[in-house]
């Protein structure tokens, strides 16, 4: 909810005719910078065999970091509107990175779960067939 309101306020700020507040933009940059550094940690170190989602996340994280740099640069040039747009770009990208990162655990878990299930299925099948094989002579006997 907070995020939503925040987004709305950003939208208002991004509207032409509204001059972006310098302090607010600076705060925004700091906030997104914080998120970016958290997400850097959340993403594992580069791995040759990583999933396309991780590659995508890494790409967006990089461009978010660039956008934040750009925002800071624009802020030093007193171009609050550009700085605002740049930080907004960073935010959107970080949102996407966060979505990608948050799904990672489930994605990684999947093959293991599938294997676990298959193994248990096989084991079950083995026991069941052992039972039915043993059952038949016992039933035929009397």
């Amino acid at each position: 909810m907070m995020k939503y309101l925040f987004t709305l306020s950003l939208l208002l700020l991004a509207q032409p005719g509204f001059a972006a507040d310098r302090a607010a933009v600076s705060q925004q940059i700091d906030l997104q910078q914080g998120r970016a550094s958290v997400l850097v940690v959340a993403l594992p170190p580069t791995d040759a065999a990583e999933a396309p989602q991780e590659q995508e996340a890494r790409r967006h994280l990089q461009s978010a970091q660039q956008a934040l740099l750009e925002a800071r640069t624009q802020l030093t040039r007193y171009d609050e509107n550009r700085a605002q747009r740049a930080v907004e770009t960073a935010r959107i990208r970080l949102d996407l990175v966060q979505a990608l990162v948050s799904g990672r655990a489930q994605r990684d878990q999947y093959p293991q779960l599938q294997k676990q299930l298959d193994d248990s299925q096989q084991q079950l099948q083995a026991v069941k067939s052992a039972i039915s094989q043993r059952d038949q002579p016992a039933q035929a006997a009397p």
Binding site: Y4, R82, L96
Partner: protein, 288 residues
């Protein structure tokens, strides 16, 4: 100059008109598709933001710089929404797998228990069968032994009968012989033994000697000499003859001979009864 400006403006408008709608037309459709999904609420904030971006893009007043940002925002938010929905799907799929796995584990445990019980019951069945067959074997062995014993018994009885027959045949030379429940009866006439007198004839003596030898071959009998009484008194001749017969047999090994009077014996005849003993038929084969 004015003409140029006018043409330039017209071109700009044309480019703007031709360019603008298709640029995010596809994104608008994508947004609509996502909004139509039943689980769209999971990605509601992202979708709302995408819609807001689309609205801004659709506004003629939006500046170019801002339009670039909004277009990017639209696309990235759509992607984010897709990712969020995908994440939820992954989560549900994993939960489903986990659930299935737990179900399998339960079923597996049940099946393993069943298997163990089955093995146990089979083992018990086998043990019972083994015991049963062992008992069966024992029973058969005992039945065989009994059969063998019976056969031996029958053979023994047959042999005894044959021995008895042979003895009877041998005794037949000296007397009339028959067996009954009382025992073995030998009946003589007085005349061949004594002639007219009370002394045994010499050939009769030899005869009795041989008879005594034969009789000693028959074990465990009690000897009884039977005569028919005369009216009142048997008479001194008969008594003397009886006495001599007893003595002769005693001399030849048949001691302890009792004498008795019996109505069934004919006149001038004497009967030697070899009484059957109390336990006549022993079964040596029945001993284990």
């Amino acid at each position: 100059m004015r003409q140029r400006i006018a043409i330039g403006l017209l071109l700009c408008c044309a480019v703007a008109q031709a360019d603008d709608p298709p640029a995010w037309q596809a994104d608008a459709e994508r947004l609509q598709t996502l909004l139509n999904r039943p689980d769209a609420n999971i990605a509601a904030p992202a979708l709302d933001e995408a819609r807001a971006a689309l609205d801004l893009l659709n506004k003629k007043s939006t500046k170019r710089d801002d339009a670039t940002l909004q277009s990017e925002r639209l696309q990235l938010k759509l992607r984010e929404a897709e990712i969020l929905l995908q994440n939820r799907q992954d989560q549900e799929r994993n939960a489903h797998l986990q659930e299935q796995y737990q179900r399998n584990l339960l079923e597996l445990r049940y099946a393993q228990t069943q298997q163990t019980l089955l093995q146990e019951s089979r083992r018990q069945q086998q043990a019972a069968k083994d015991r049963e067959s062992a008992l069966q074997t024992q029973l058969e062995r005992e039945a065989q032994r009994r059969q063998l014993a019976e056969a031996q018994l029958a053979q023994l009885a047959q042999e005894r009968q044959r021995a008895e027959d042979i003895i009877n045949l041998a005794l037949g030379q000296f007397a009339e012989v028959w067996d009954d429940s009382e025992g073995k009866h030998l009946r003589f006439g007085f005349a061949p033994l004594f002639g007219e007198g009370e002394t045994l004839l010499p050939e009769a003596l030899l005869h009795l000697k041989n008879l005594a030898i034969l009789l000693q071959a028959i074990p465990e009998r009690r000897y009884l000499l039977l005569i028919k009484p005369f009216t009142g008194d048997p008479g001194p001749l008969t008594l003397a003859r009886l006495e001599q017969l007893k003595n002769t047999l005693a001399e030849n090994g048949l001691s302890d001979i009792q004498a008795a009077y019996q109505e069934a014996v004919p006149e001038q005849q004497i009967e030697l009864l070899l009484e059957t003993q109390v336990a006549p038929a022993q079964n040596p084969a029945e001993a284990p």
